[in-house]
Amino acid sequence: MASSYNAKEEDGHHPGLVGSGGPGAVKSKKPDNTAFKQQRLPAWQPILTAGTVLPAFFMIGLIFIPIGIGLFVTSNNIKEFEIDYTGVDMSSPCYNCAQNYSWNSTSVCTCTVPFTLDQPFESNVFMYYGLSNFYQNHRRYVKSRDDSQLNGDKSSLLNPSKECEPYRTSDRKPIAPCGAIANSLFNDTLELFYIHPNGSKIGIHLVKTGIAWWTDKHVKFRNPGGSNNNLSVVFQDTSKPVNWRKAVYELDPADPENNGFVNEDLIVWMRTAALPTFRKLYRIIQKKKDTMTPTLPPGNYSLEVAYNYPVRSFDGRKRVILSTISWMGGKNPFLGIAYITVGSVCFFLGVVLLIIHHKYGNRNNNADIPN
């Protein structure tokens, strides 16, 4: 873009000299002769013409295309494997569970989904569960929570926010954690086994901590009364959410740091997803100590599901996703392609502008202005 300081407007006025008047002059209404008041501030005046714009276009093209290629390559290097275990098809191992299951059933239905990885997964593998057609972003659903209760506020614990209705109280006791979000907590239990070529099933260690944001885990979510207390005592005057099988202080009895409101599964669930098809981090498969073997070598695996979570009523799907991760997050080729496209379009337009500039631009520089 061309720029010019319109210095020619700075004519011979000398501010201050004229305005002051003679000695003892009556206060004159004469406006001050300052650049600001006389609207003569030096200014940069961008005029967008083909000539001024085309360098920008070439620049954008030249910068975007490499970025796009980089992004695309990065995305392609990410390994991702997805298993749908909803059990919609008759052939699906979880079909039976999906058919019979409802929130009220007490028995546990389990199903085992076998799958094969063709490629090894290096470094840490993140295990997600994915839900489709699940509107966690519904306006009233999003609202239905009490952040101060989750932050360990005692009074909120016993008297949750009205936003939680109708999941605020049950049996005259306040629900902890209250609200629809907590009530609909994803409660399938997923376990991963490596089927060794020799037929043995080796359980893969799934790390259940470190899946939530640090800030959520350490600041936003807190158990009432500090972490040292016995949680069952703290929560004794509350009732569990109606759809839950066990109380909040029983979410991870093994690890007091991961129990109650600070349970990371709960924390992850409470961060409502933006879009109706989403995934949430479930577990992390940590890279083995020895760098030789990949985290997940290629081969057969089986996924054991304790099928608790009904999604059929809203045509939902449940998936498990195994994915490695890069600096740009999960696998998503879109951004790379978009960068490449935009970059090339800009480059092309730059060429067009160059032609136009040669055709028309010179004419304007001559003083042949009006037509």
Partner: protein, 1365 residues
């Protein structure tokens, strides 16, 4: 801050509340501007409503109470609120704005549980912010007013107390109707009072009404007739008369009522008896009056109208588009509602739904309302507030423009209407008054004809031209001239006006009127009597004839005695037939008093005898009586001890020897005892003007007499209501007929050959626009006859004089008519002077009916008019005068520039056709090559035929010139008032307008104020164009009010035009920059800003709308609600404001040089419906990009609702700010810093929020989100891509259009880039191109010289010559 007052006013426009307080009366209730209100039927029928006032002190107390029930006391309260009522009242008034109501509705909607979208508090924020901002302004305003009120109410005055039997000090607020108030000189009148007593022996008192109407000339007020013998002490106890008068009204010039004495004798009261509140008593020691109207019932208070509110064209467009936005909003909500219904109906009890039994249809209905809340921002709440703020900024810059500042008057431009700045940029028709607008309205006597003989006054012409040269060539010179007068007034201020600061406040808190008065006071003092300009060099022939009176024997040529008698009568008429007030320079504010009864001169008897003989027609006897006036006369007068009260101007001897040498004209200095020089003036030597004076005297011998006069302090200041009068009096003075003093009953004049004569003034029939003349009835000092002198418009007087029988007068009339025509051709203003001798009986008879008319309450004006008309018949024509009115500087250039800018300039004037055409030529409205189309018809049919004929003529002219040339030909229509009347009738309007469309310009002469406004209305309504009317006088007020933009010229004729105008400037030339530069800027700025606001809101709101497709149309928002609300209110609101105030597409210099550029505003190019929709389309595109790039980038990932919004908001902010950069034409450091500030503010807010807000802001808790998102590189990648892609089309289209087919504005911008040399050559080329486009076959009209701003000497002289020749 006072400029913000419009806000309340605007509210008040919506509700006409609380009229009783009278602070704001709507503009329509302004006082009738001319005295034509006699025709107003409403005014007439006031007879039923009267008020009775009796004196309020003990003896009358019981009676008083019965009368005074409904009367207000004198305390005023101009504030709108009290401390308690402020909040409810202010809120109430604010909610009369539709926009506020809409947002209130949204707030309330959010309280409905089924519909609620956000937390209740958050929806209130925008409204609360807007309301608070306005309430704050209102409060500041009101507080200021409160302080003024308090100050005024606590001013002290002297009121008679019955208990203490004396005048006691009392606050103004405590003055009641019926109180007797005593005022001293220079005190301000606290309430409207009937004058009961004046210390003046003649029972008069002078008041200065500058606070009321800005006119600084003194007005005379009279004690109620035959109330008490004047001169003796007024005894309040003895005053027991009853006053009955009309109820309070706002007509300053009318007061009707009567006073009933205990003996049931009634005396009529009229406006001459009324002292108006906030006027100042001048040169009268004490006056006593009885209060009849107090407080808000006074005429001054009833005349206060607030600032004007007009709705600009742009704003009308804007409102249209706001409605479109509403339609868009409804459509979007409807889509969302339908979508929600469909989505719901397909679901069955999903886990994520709150159990709810609502039927999908009902849920959809609820959703509709929810969406209205969610998408409310689409209707830009801050737009109205922003526009108002921007306009204030624009006004600030207009008012601070140095180029619009007039150093002579110390005034800049005043913006009285605060919200139509952008209308200045769209003017298509300009209606201009002539006198005082195009011309200086500085009347200079040029020549005259008496009794059929023309006196060309050649020397006078020469001196006038010389003056012109000086004025043009040497600005400083004229400056010092003026400053001298202003210094005189300064010295006067120290003497008498020391209380002016208080007086200024009395009016109201209106500070702009304030400043008007101030400046006016400064410049009008003695403006009509500035020595240099009023210098009249007598015509030798006429002078000689006149001088035969004093020295008949010595005269070589003996004129006819009858002629001399006519000449003397002529000058006597000029001297007497006016309302000029005389004051002396030593005490400028003190009118020269009449020395009481003078003993007639010894020679007077002889003079009288001579005169009686002379007045017999055609008596060929030469008068042989004469005397040299004894110099003792002057001495006697000086010795009267009333120092400085009376200076006879020219020594009666001076005119005796006119032919020898002008130097000898000056009176001998020894005549004046040096001791008499008042100290104020002797200090005038220190002004350093002497050298100047002497130089000037050498330049111009004729001036010498004047400058010498000045040395002798023999100058009299004449303060006239109209400059013509002053010019005529000055002219008469040059011939020795000097007006020395005036009282209601007497006029003191010096006539050559006699000393000062006292002429008893029987009646003054003041000027009336319907009669177009004024008359005085006097008893002739020499013959003793009752004589009527009439002075008026030539056609009227000629008509009245027609009945003359004898050959002589017929011949005189014929000759005079011929001379008049010649004068008019020269562009002179003509006035005829006539007289009539009344027989005693005739006079008695007329007098009786006149007195009846004077005392009647009802129809008084009509009766007076009738009475005057009865008297003014069978006149004998004495002669006529030609007065020159110089063109203002740079008028031709301005008009040419305006025409080049595509503005049609019409001149509407009351002057004669020939005068008007001449002036039109002088100011280049008419070119020598132009076709003048005359329309003077006597009947409607003739008019119709003439219009058709002219239409044909125009077609022929245009055809002959060029077939494809547009309609604007070189035709100029000249139409006179009578024809205009016909043309304005319904049937002919169409034809008239068609014809005018084909003409480059139209000149309407002899038009009345009403016609002026009718023409403006016709053009405005029928052609649907933007009109601007400019004028300076009361007769232009209706036109100024009618036009879309009214511009008043603060000049010689009071302040009425300024008061009713939207903008007030002091010279016509300022119009050029005001319109071409400021108008253009304001329009372009505001239009761009409004478009940007629409874009911004649509762009941002659509992001939320697109999200609805992914949240089941549940009205969910991905954005934190605070960010959502603040996005428009804080983060992106300041840069557009700065652009609205400071953006500058083309520099002022270029705009002035290329008036063509103005056309873009006229055609509303910046804001067309297509621009609006393209803008909306672009906003849709940008929001799509801004939403879907992040959408696809994050699709399927574990992104949370509010994390998703983070890159969207970030890129939206970038897009919106950078869009502004693309759209703007200038970037100064202010712009840059504000843009950066806005961006940083957003990020600072958002980061801080996400760090500190742990559990706050419940459903949309931002904790940790932004920090987390911004720590990921993806965020930046998404933002960059989104921003680039979103702005791509606009950048591209701008670049394409600017390169391939640039608009004129872009071309001009490009020219500005060039170096100084290329710049001027490009400009030249541009103009030539345009000129050839415009007139391809005709000779190229004279080009505007490049440095037109600096008038070169030659140009100026040529201009002056054009007027004078």
């Amino acid at each position: 801050m006072e400029r913000l007052r419009w806000v309340q006013h605007r509210c008040l426009q919506l509700i006409s509340t609380d009229r009783r307080r009278g602070w704001y009366s709507s503009p329509s209730s302004l006082p009738p501007k001319s005295s034509q209100d006699a025709q107003d039927p409403q005014v007439q029928r006031l007879s039923g409503k009267r008020r009775v006032v009796v004196s309020r002190w003990d003896t009358h107390h019981s009676e008083y109470r019965s009368f005074s029930k409904g009367f207000q006391n004198n305390s005023i309260r101009t504030t709108k609120y009290t401390l308690i009522s402020f909040i409810p009242m202010n809120l109430f008034q604010q909610f009369h704005r539709a926009a506020n109501l809409y947002f209130l509705f949204l707030v309330l909607l959010n309280w409905v549980p089924a519909v609620e979208a956000f937390q209740k508090e958050i929806t209130m924020i925008p409204l609360a912010v807007v309301l608070t901002v306005i309430a704050f302004k209102d409060a500041m305003e009101d507080y200021r007013r409160y302080r003024y009120d308090k100050k005024i109410n606590n001013t002290l005055t002297h009121v008679y107390s019955g208990k203490q039997q004396r005048y006691v000090e009392r606050r103004w607020a405590e003055v009641c109707v019926g109180d007797l108030v005593r005022l001293c000189c220079n005190e301000i009148i606290p309430a409207d009072m009937v004058l009961l007593h004046s210390s003046d022996s003649n029972g008069v008192c002078h008041i200065e009404t500058a606070n009321l109407d800005g006119e600084t000339n003194l007005k005379q007020r009279q004690v109620v007739r035959d109330l008490t013998q004047q001169g003796c002490e007024f005894v309040p106890e003895n005053f027991s008369s009853r006053i009955e008068c009309e109820n309070p009204n706002n007509d300053l010039r009318r007061f009707r009522g009567f006073m009933e004495h205990p003996g049931k004798v009634r005396v009529g009261l009229h406006s001459e008896n009324l002292l108006l509140r906030s006027c100042t008593v001048r040169n009268t020691e004490t006056v006593i009056g009885i209060v009849v109207y107090a407080g808000h019932e006074t005429k001054a208070m009833q005349n206060n109208s607030g600032p004007r509110y007009k709705r600009s064209k742009l704003e009308r467009r804007l409102n249209m588009d706001v409605l479109w936005s509403v339609a868009l909003l409804l459509l979007m909500c409807f889509i969302a509602a339908i979508g929600h219904g469909l989505w719901l109906s397909e679901l069955e009890d999903p886990i994520f739904m709150i159990p709810d039994n609502t039927h999908p249809a009902l849920a959809a209905f609820y959703m509709f309302w929810t969406m209205i809340i969610v998408l409310q921002v689409l209707i830009p709440i801050s737009l109205y507030v922003s526009i108002e703020i921007v306009k204030l900024g624009q006004i600030y810059f207009i008012q601070n423009d140095l180029d619009l500042y007039n150093p002579v008057l110390d005034t800049g431009v005043q913006c009285r209407a605060l919200n139509i700045t952008e209308d200045l940029g769209q003017i298509q028709y300009l209606f201009s008054d002539k006198t005082g607008t195009l011309t200086e309205n500085r009347m200079l006597f040029r020549r005259c004809t008496v009794a059929g003989t023309e006196y060309p006054h050649h020397e006078n012409a020469v001196s006038l031209e010389q003056y012109e040269d000086q004025a043009c060539g040497d600005v400083d010179r004229s400056l010092t001239l003026r400053s001298r007068t202003s210094k005189k007034s300064l010295s006067c201020k120290s003497l008498s006006c020391n209380r002016s600061s208080v007086s200024l406040n009395t009016l109201t808190a209106e500070s702009d009127t304030h400043s008007v008065h101030d400046t006016l006071r400064r410049h009008t003092t003695g403006a009509f009597s500035s020595t240099m300009e009023c210098a009249v060099v007598p015509d030798p022939q006429l002078h000689m004839k006149l001088s035969t009176l004093s020295s008949p024997m010595r005269s070589p040529l003996r004129p006819d005695a009858a002629e001399i008698s006519l000449i003397l009568d002529f000058f006597l008429a000029l001297t007497v037939c006016n309302t000029v007030v005389v004051s002396s320079p030593s005490q400028p504010r003190h009118v020269v008093q009449m020395p009481v009864v003078r003993t007639p001169l010894r020679s007077l008897e002889e003079m009288k005898a001579m005169f009686q003989k002379l007045s017999l027609p055609r008596f060929p006897h030469s008068p042989n009586t004469n005397t040299d006036t004894p110099p003792s006369l002057t001495k006697k007068l000086f010795a009267r001890g009333r120092s400085a009260s009376y200076f006879p101007n020219s020594n009666p001897q001076t005119p005796v020897t006119p032919l020898e040498s002008p130097v000898k004209l000056s009176g001998t200095p020894s005549d004046t005892p040096p001791a008499l020089i008042p100290p104020a003036l002797s200090s005038s030597g220190a002004w350093g003007e002497d050298a100047e004076d002497k130089k000037q005297a050498k330049d111009n011998a004729a001036d010498e007499s004047e400058s010498d006069d000045e040395d002798e302090e023999e100058e009299l200041l004449y303060e006239a209501e109209s400059p013509d009068e002053a010019a005529l009096v000055q002219a008469a003075k040059a011939y020795g007929c000097t007006l020395l003093g005036r009282s209601p009953e007497q006029v003191l004049v010096a006539v050559p050959g006699t000393g000062p004569l006292s002429i008893s003034l029987l009646h003054v029939l003041p000027f009336h626009s319907a009669r177009k003349r004024m008359s005085v009835v006097v008893r002739h000092p020499l013959t003793g006859e009752v004589v009527v002198y009439t002075k008026g418009a030539d056609n009227v007087i000629m008509e009245l004089a027609k009945q003359a029988e004898d050959d002589f007068s017929r011949e005189v009339m014929e000759l005079t008519q011929r001379h008049l025509d010649q004068y008019a051709r020269e562009g002179l203003r003509t006035l005829c002077v006539a007289k009539k001798v009344l027989g005693e009986q005739e006079y008695e008879a007329w007098m009786k009916r006149h007195e009846y008319a004077e005392t009647s309450i009802e129809n008084r004006e009509e009766l007076l008019l009738e009475s005057a008309e009865r008297l003014e018949t069978d006149l004998t024509l004495l002669g006529a005068t030609g007065i020159v009115d110089r063109l203002q500087e740079e008028v031709p250039e301005t008009i040419e520039a305006l025409q080049e800018a595509g503005i049609k300039v019409w001149v509407l004037t009351g002057d004669k056709q020939e005068t008007a055409i001449n002036i039109a030529f002088a100011c280049k409205l008419l070119r020598p090559t132009d076709h003048i189309l005359m329309a003077n018809c006597d009947s409607k049919e003739a008019c119709e035929a003439r219009l058709q004929e002219l239409q044909l003529e125009v077609q022929q002219v245009t055809k002959a010139d060029e077939p494809e040339g547009d309609c604007i030909s070189d035709c100029v229509l000249v139409i006179d008032g009578r024809t205009l009347d016909y043309a304005l009738q319904k049937e002919l309007q169409g034809a008239f307008l068609d014809l005018t469309c084909c003409c480059r310009s139209v000149i309407c002469c002899r038009s009345t104020p009403l016609q002026k406004s009718q023409v403006v209305r016709l053009v405005r309504d029928k052609l649907e164009v933007m009109t601007l009317a400019i004028g300076d006088g009361a007769n232009d007020v209706s036109m100024i009010q009618m036009a879309d933009v009214g511009v008043g010229i603060s000049g010689q004729e009071g302040m009425q035009a300024v008061m009713s105008s939207d903008f007030a400037i002091s010279r016509f030339k300022f119009l050029r920059k005001l319109i071409l530069v400021h108008g253009h800027w304001c329009y372009a700025r505001l239009a761009n800003m409004i478009l940007y606001f629409f874009y911004k809101n649509v762009m941002y709101v659509n992001l939320l709308f697109w999200y609805q497709f992914f949240c089941g149309f549940s009205g969910s928002t991905m954005t934190n609600s605070w960010v959502l609300i603040f996005f428009n209110l804080l983060f992106t609101s300041v840069p557009p404001l700065v652009y609205g105030v400071l953006d500058k597409d083309v520099s002022a210099e270029t705009l002035l040089k290329l008036p063509d550029l103005y056309k873009s505003g006229q055609n509303s190019q910046a804001y067309l419906p297509t621009t609006f929709w393209l803008n909306i389309l672009d906003a849709f595109y940008q929001s799509l990009v801004c939403f879907f790039i992040p959408y696809f980038a994050y699709a399927g990932s574990d992104i949370g609702v509010f994390s998703f919004a983070s890159p969207i908001n970030g890129s939206a902010l970038l897009i919106i700010l950078l869009h502004q950069v693309i759209e703007s034409r200038t970037l100064t450091w202010i712009h840059a810093s504000l843009l950066i500030f806005s961006g940083l503010f957003y990020y600072a807010f958002v980061l801080l929020f996400s760090i500190t807000c742990v559990t706050c802001n419940s459903p949309t808790n931002p904790y940790g989100i932004e920090t987390k998102m911004m720590s990921e590189p993806l965020y930046y990648l998404v933002c960059v891509l989104t921003t680039v892609l979103a702005l791509l089309p606009r950048m591209l289209s701008r670049a394409f259009s600017n390169t391939i087919c640039p608009s004129d504005l872009v071309k001009a911008q490009k020219i500005e880039r060039l170096s100084a040399q290329d710049y001027s050559s490009s400009l030249q080329k541009w103009k030539e191109n345009k000129a050839t486009q415009r007139v391809s076959s005709r000779p190229v009209p004279q080009n505007l010289s490049v440095n037109a701003d600096i008038p070169s000497l030659t140009e100026c002289a040529a201009e002056g010559g054009a007027v004078l020749s």
